[in-house]
Symmetry: D2
């Protein structure tokens, strides 16, 4: 549970398996679910750096609503595929965080999609609030190129 | 939107169209979504009797968590089918409500599924709380056989 | 069901109500569901111009997988809000279609989000295929500025 | 990943973590998602006994649509909780399978829910078809009490 050395590397990987209800009648994963997988990626990255998202909400009263999101779909993900989600923190402002994602099929490494989410940092009252200094440091440590 | 007289009838009907992401790779609606359609049924029934669920939560602080649910699947619902949801209140105790549902394809009336949900009435603290008298009366007025 | 004159206007509007399971513990609609609402928008636009998406798949064997999607979230949508989805066709290439969306709260017209999806036109074999001429004409007729 | 001996035991356990979009504005997991977790349970059980569900569909052309499902909700599952899903095969007829599920919070073992799904075994044409003998044997080996 404590962050291993590799968790501080620029890219954090977590995996998820495509669930039956995530497929649609085209036979492949429905595109909106990729945004859920992006969330799994940043959730596990934040847990790995010692800042579980649930605790931020419950204890620090800080929420990270998504203010922008985007995805490019390169190849379909299929039922029961294990999808590897590589997450990177790309920019950390005073009250902003941007995560970037690269999804690939774990079995053969084929790139499936790329995407990003941008988040505001707000308090329980919905107002912008600066990221706690400690969290900002931890996120910056994971930034690509560091 | 709906005539008042009809809203007090034993059965309340609302409709929904099967969404693309509600289908799975079997080509039909995934079974868990039927529970969501059940919710649409009771939501619109409660709105019709003048007790919108959102107001109950926000103003009266009363929640209706599902404590039991069941469904029988008779025929598949397909993409873009209009599903008619017929909702009935079956029993109203002091702090309990049971809704029953019958789903059919609107185009030809074919029965697709039946089901039920049973709800506790709890306050914001999670403790059982009696249904407000006025709500109980309204629900009882809609009960089958009345 | 037949397309009215206004359906040929540059922007097509359809509405959806925020469902309980579309909310999350932040108390607002989860961001991935907006992509589902975008789909509702283009689905109803295509129905309005006489080219229901389901028929395209079933009869013409043409699929429109999403190859890129993006959304900007301006204000939260809340449970039971009626969300108006305004859909526009922005560009139609030989085997590409781009839809743009503007979401607003129907009650007060407040803008909630904007977004887009870009689609490839592929056959059952997954290969790019030109849009049927008739569909292209119908989509072009709805293009903004026409 | 799992020891073979244990996989043949009466109960098969798999775990899932409650995702943010699985919560609703009540702050707990929405009840319909439990049916998805049930599916995770039977999927991993079938993989463990050497009969991955995806292969059954793709290679043997056998589908297991749900014909009945039920759940009792005992305690709420919360965001980020690890939910342990214990799956048992309860009855195996010629063209029927019934799975039973018990869900608990992994952290403290608290029982969260119980439920079942009953499935028909059908071919690609939608007609009932007998379970392949080998699969039936494997499922029977896992039956409770054996």
């Amino acid at each position: 549970m404590a962050p291993a050395a590799e968790d501080r590397s620029p890219v954090h990987r977590t995996c998820t398996r495509v669930r039956y209800p995530e497929t649609d009648r085209m036979g492949v994963a429905y595109h909106a679910h990729y945004l859920v997988w992006f969330e799994l990626g940043r959730t596990e990255m934040m847990r790995a750096i010692g800042a579980p998202y649930g605790e931020l909400e419950d204890e620090a009263g800080i929420l990270f609503p998504v203010i922008e999101a985007g995805a490019r779909y390169l190849r379909p993900a299929r039922y029961d595929d294990v999808v590897a989600i590589d997450t990177t923190v790309r920019a950390v402002g005073g009250a902003r965080v941007r995560f970037e994602y690269a999804l690939s099929r774990e079995a053969d490494g084929e790139r499936l999609a790329t995407g990003f989410t941008e988040h505001a940092s707000v308090g329980r009252d919905g107002r912008p609030t600066r990221l706690p200094a400690e969290l900002r440091e931890r996120l910056e440590e994971t930034r690509e190129g560091e």
